[in-house]
């Protein structure tokens, strides 16, 4: 019993809390400098955060229990006391939110082409499945040709029935029944027309970097990349994102040897070999959305609010420690 009490005292003390804070800070510093991608996912670090949470829960609970008697002792300090409590409880809520996400949160990524429908329950587990259809994808540009916004026009469907439609853009995610969709990225598929090995002319959507093998030649063609604003001075990188001078960069191989590279315009007939042609009529954009469900988000949200109000009450609005507060400092509970 004595030992348990001691452990409890130690775990719930503010000193331990401060030591833990120093540990978290130093670990984060070392981690971000040397192992930024893995360190924060290690068990060691998570354990540290969990111990800190436990410490703060106990510490905050103790303060809450003692609040009444403390307030009786120092009536003039209630504002700061409430602030302190809110601030610490807020941090605990935030940590709890993170913990809930670590256990129950899900996230994934979906790429959708215009007109296609994706079943969201294929990406993350859903109680009531629904699908997302991309109706259109539009990039807006600034005057200088840099992108100013990416917009995915989507429709939410449940068993084929339209439930909602929305525009998802950067900073404007869609929230559908707790599942959030964020505009994350986009890409292009390249429409490619050529005669295939059965002799018929096909129009295929090719992913950047993939090969095609046209009929009538031993040569293969790598559909390397779509460049929206081609400028020879910029090489293989687009000058701006706006399609002011769109080109398809392709390369031709024979016996795995590179024999030529070209930059084709849309609809330009490119001769690959004698009487063998490839045409790139257009590109088709696809959007990449991040999908996330985080049942801990409300906890973190309210925690953040409590924390902000608490910190302001405890430190800004409260009077500074003058003569009057001396008495409180003399009965510090350094548990």
């Amino acid at each position: 019993m004595e030992i348990l009490k001691k452990v409890y005292r130690y775990l719930s003390s503010m000193k331990t809390g401060l030591v833990l804070l120093v540990l978290v800070g130093s670990a984060a510093a070392v981690g971000s400098a040397f192992l930024p991608d893995v360190f924060f996912n290690t068990w060691l670090f998570k354990l540290l955060l969990i111990i800190l949470s436990v410490n703060m829960v106990l510490c905050t609970a103790n303060r809450f229990i003692l609040l009444k008697s403390r307030l009786k002792k120092n009536r003039n300090k209630w504002f700061r006391e409430i602030g302190n409590l809110l601030l610490h409880a807020g941090i605990v809520f935030i940590l709890a939110g993170l913990l809930v996400y670590a256990f129950y949160g899900q996230n994934g990524q979906i790429a959708i082409r215009t007109g296609d429908t994706v079943d969201v329950s294929q990406i993350i587990a859903l109680k009531e499945p629904f699908s997302l259809r991309l109706d259109d994808f539009k990039v807006e540009y600034n005057e200088d040709g840099s992108p100013s916004q990416y917009n995915s026009y989507v429709t939410v469907l449940e068993s084929g029935i339209t439930k909602d439609d929305a525009v998802i853009s950067v900073n404007h995610p869609l929230n559908y029944r707790g599942v959030k969709f964020y505009q994350q990225s986009y890409g292009y598929l390249i429409k490619t027309k050529y005669t295939n090995d059965t002799g018929s002319e096909v129009e295929e959507l090719i992913k950047e970097g993939n090969f095609i093998k046209p009929e009538g030649t031993e040569r293969t063609v790598k559909v390397f990349r779509y460049i929206p604003n081609f400028d020879p001075n910029h090489g293989m990188v687009t000058k701006t994102m706006r399609p002011d001078n769109p080109r398809i960069i392709f390369s031709v191989y024979e016996d795995k040897q590179l024999i030529g590279v070209g930059a084709a315009q849309f609809d330009e007939r490119v001769e690959i070999d004698e009487n063998v042609y490839v045409v790139f009529p257009a590109v088709e954009p696809y959007t990449i959305l991040k999908v996330k469900s985080d049942p801990g988000l409300p906890l973190a949200f309210w925690g953040g609010g409590m924390f902000m109000i608490g910190v302001t009450m405890a430190l800004l609005a409260a009077p500074s420690q003058g003569k009057k507060t001396e008495s409180i400092d003399s009965n510090r509970e350094m548990r």
Binding site: L18, P36, Q149, Q184, F307, T312, L315, D329
Partner: protein
Amino acid sequence: MKLLITVIIYALFIAYLLGAVLYFIGNKSGKKQALSTASLMVKIGLVLNIAALIVRTMIAGRLPLANSGEFTLWFTVVTVALYLYYEAKAKMREAGGAVMLISALLVGSIIVLMKGQLGEATPLMPALKSPWLTIHVLTAAVAYACFALAAGLAIMQLAKAETKITDEIIHRIVAGGFVMLSLTIVFGAVWAEQAWGSYWSWDPKETWALITWIIYALYLHLHRRLGWKGKTASKMVIAGFVLVLFTFFGVNYLLSGLHSYA
């Protein structure tokens, strides 16, 4: 316009640097004349700093809240405004040299490290188009300015045998900065959640803001609960500001992450 902002930035640097030198001389020799000229230089500097922000707004065609040059201008304008307020209120000019030297060096960093950032019209990238950006950056500027002022006071308190700078005043300023840093971090998290779909991702800037926040949290606890005052407390305030500078410069130039454009 491009020439204009360059001229303003150089004039601003000179005004702050001259102010710093005059404060040092005046405090050393006790000459009132030098000290009031220093105050005047600082006021001229403040006007130039505001002018720089206005001209930058005109060049960019938006509020200047995005790149590090723009942020530095906010950082110094709030630092200097707070300092002048402190000087008027506390009727003390002891810390002028240190605070103005910090401000001058910050403006100097625009000239050395952020060349050309302020002269070009750079539109915002989609992720930066959020009202949270405004509030996140402005609270950060106030937080950093409080920490700069507190560090300036702490340096002078450590450097002098006899001083009227009290722990109490340093503590109050740090407390104000801590509140603003807390708001900065929460607003930043809200924004990151909307823009990138996660409110905390241990990106270097976030991580170092948290580390900075931790050191000031320690200071506040130790100061009140364990009665750490005087030299130890002041050293912590200075260490905190070193972390602030690392979070700003070190992370931007040494580590990479979501924030590396800012």
